[in-house]
């Protein structure tokens, strides 16, 4: 049984779904952000695998930029989290329900 592209892609899907589960399950914002990282990484796996199988570099570059995006998101996200924590004293998103309806 040789390894095919599909294997990698399925791995990517699995990781993506795991990330998604984290995003929709987590109530702690910090840990929710972990899950978003997983989702982006899943995409990276797919892109790199595709890139490698096609022999085209675009996928790898895409993944590279996604990493940059992920890093930036972390910075901004953490800034927001610190702000929330300072103001509310908690990171639980169940406490963020002022705006609704």
């Amino acid at each position: 049984m040789s390894l095919t592209l599909t294997h990698y892609l399925i791995l990517s899907v699995i990781l993506f779904v795991i990330g998604m589960i984290g995003v929709i399950r987590r109530k702690n914002l910090l840990m929710l952000f972990f899950a978003t990282e997983i989702m982006l990484n899943a995409a990276n796996v797919a892109l790199v695998a595709l890139s490698s199988y096609i022999g085209d570099l675009t996928g790898q570059l895409f993944a590279l930029f996604i990493m940059a995006i992920a890093a930036s998101e972390v910075a901004v996200g953490l800034g927001l989290l610190i702000l929330v924590y300072k103001k509310q004293g908690t990171l639980d998103l169940d406490n963020l329900t002022l705006l609704k309806g």
Binding site: T36, L40, F62, E73, V76, L83, K100
Partner: protein, 501 residues
């Protein structure tokens, strides 16, 4: 190890001029940052004017661009749609930024960085609309979004921080979908450049089962696009974020990020529509109908004007989305016409709310702009009431105000393509919508103010620059009949040159 060949690139082939508008905004942002570094405690009016000047130059740069040029290794694409997108973005931003000069002081405007971030955000949007490369689009999108989140949070109220968090989190998830979608597209075509994608797809359409990944990629991307242009059910951040943001920013968000994403959507879905992939087309139409209708109904029951306007802008987005699915010149043109007109009217309406903003919430525990606040406005501030009413009527699509023309063109485009039922539903949606717009008019004109609040002035935040913006917006809204013809011609020519149809 293989030797690295020197890369020789003809400088003129880069076509650097295509980058000019973006460079202008970038330089503007950097200048602001540098000025801040050199001297603190400069007044915000300086930054406002600097920003406007930057944008002004950027508009000039956009207008001097040549049509249908690519630059910088084909990552930049300046076609008609890109120019239209950039113009709307820049003009909208120019209209927005004077709103910082309010009577009251609000937190965000005390940062010079606010203006820098604002320009960075525009920079991001500019790349989104001026590229057909998914990577650049994605980076532009994230640059803009990551600048936008702090802009919201910097208002520094509980609501604004909550709004920023919600927007950010959902945005992160949408980014994940975007990346996955792009991966699928890349997997099927080997490219992330939409022009190439279109060509490859065309040649592969005959393969059996090709539709599964092709449509699947579109679905994943649609989540990200739907999130940004707030299509139901990806809209849920919209009302909360608008409510949490200061009014002008909410108004701004109802247009500029949406038009940027709309341009991407036009570029992307155009491939599908050209290939005659019915499921995507139907999907867009269904989503548009649901968005327009359901958002309308939810707007109906709101107690806060800003929240109502948030839902109404969702509904408007749904309305325009139909035009996207038509794949006709008129359809695409009317998207830009509609947004161009919507820009003034909606931003005007939000600016009216902004003028009435005060720090304490006198009228409601939670809302800054509950309907009750505007009761008896015709007596307190008659001209303002009339202008607000005009904005509302325009949003409702009552002729002869500007959005009527937008509505007319969109509906006409729908009818031209034979979607009579869709046109009918969309038209009737306006009838639902008119109720909540009227509600505000009713409060302003027909209901007396609360006894104990009769003396409370509505316009706590009034300032000249706000009045100028509102006046200009009102002027544009009222006199639409005189410029629709050249405007539409301008738009149509540009759209036509983009080769979408």
């Amino acid at each position: 190890m293989a030797p690295i060949n020197p890369v020789n690139i003809d400088f003129s082939s880069l076509n650097l001029v295509t980058l000019a508008p973006m460079l202008v905004t970038l330089i503007g942002a950097l200048v602001i940052l540098i000025i801040d570094l050199i001297k603190k405690d400069l007044d915000k009016s300086l930054y406002v004017t600097l920003t406007i000047l930057t944008l002004f130059i950027a508009v000039g740069a956009v207008l001097s661009l040549n049509l249908n040029e690519r630059g910088l290794f084909d990552t930049i694409l300046i076609d008609g749609v890109a120019i239209l997108g950039q113009l709307i973005i820049l003009i909208g931003s120019m209209l927005f930024i004077p709103l910082a000069l309010t009577k009251k002081r609000f937190h965000e405007f005390s940062y010079p960085e606010f203006f820098a971030l604002f320009l960075f955000m525009i920079f991001g949007f500019q790349f989104m609309v001026s590229s057909d490369n998914l990577i650049l689009i994605f980076i532009g999108l994230e640059t803009a979004s990551l600048a936008l989140y702090p802009l919201i949070a910097m208002h520094n109220t509980r609501a604004s921080i909550e709004a920023a968090i919600k927007y950010f989190t959902m945005g992160a998830m949408a980014a994940g979908f975007f990346a996955m979608g792009a991966a699928v597209i890349y997997g099927v075509t080997g490219s992330v450049e939409l022009a190439v994608v279109a060509d490859v797809l065309k040649s592969r359409m005959s393969e059996a089962g090709i539709l599964i990944p092709v449509v699947g990629g579109a679905l994943l991307l649609l989540v990200a696009i739907g999130f940004k242009v707030s299509l139901i059910p990806f809209h849920m951040w919209t009302p909360d974020v608008y409510e949490g943001s200061p009014a002008p920013l909410a108004g701004y968000m109802s247009i500029i990020p949406k038009i940027a994403m709309m341009v991407v959507a036009v570029r992307f879905f155009n491939i599908y529509l050209d290939l005659d992939i019915v499921s995507v087309k139907n999907l867009i139409i269904i989503l548009a109908i649901v968005t327009a209708t359901l958002a309308n109904m939810m707007a109906l029951v709101q107690g806060d004007v800003k929240r109502m306007l948030a839902y109404s802008s969702i509904s408007h987005a749904g309305f325009i989305m139909v035009a996207l699915a038509l794949d006709s010149l008129k359809g695409y043109s009317s998207i830009f016409l509609y947004y161009g007109l919507f820009l003034f009217t909606n931003l005007g309406a939000f600016a009216m709310l902004w003028v009435s903003r005060r720090k304490a919430k006198l009228f409601h525990d939670r809302f800054h702009h509950p309907y009750e606040k505007f009761a008896g406005m015709i007596h307190k501030a008659p001209i303002a009431a009339v202008i607000m009413a005009i904005f509302m009527l325009s949003l409702a699509g009552v002729p002869p105000f500007s959005l009527f023309w937008g509505k007319l063109y969109v509906l006409s485009a729908i009818v031209d393509k034979g979607y009579y039922l869709v046109a009918l539903i969309m038209a009737l949606n306006s009838a639902i919508a008119v109720y909540y717009y009227l509600k505000l008019i009713v409060y302003m004109f027909l209901k007396p103010a609360d006894k104990d609040k009769e003396e409370v002035t509505i316009y706590a935040n009034r300032a000249l620059s706000l009045e100028v913006v509102i006046g200009f917006a009102a002027f544009v809204t009222i006199t639409s009949i005189f410029y629709i013809e050249p405007l539409m011609k301008f738009i149509t020519d540009l759209v036509k040159s983009s080769g979408l149809v």
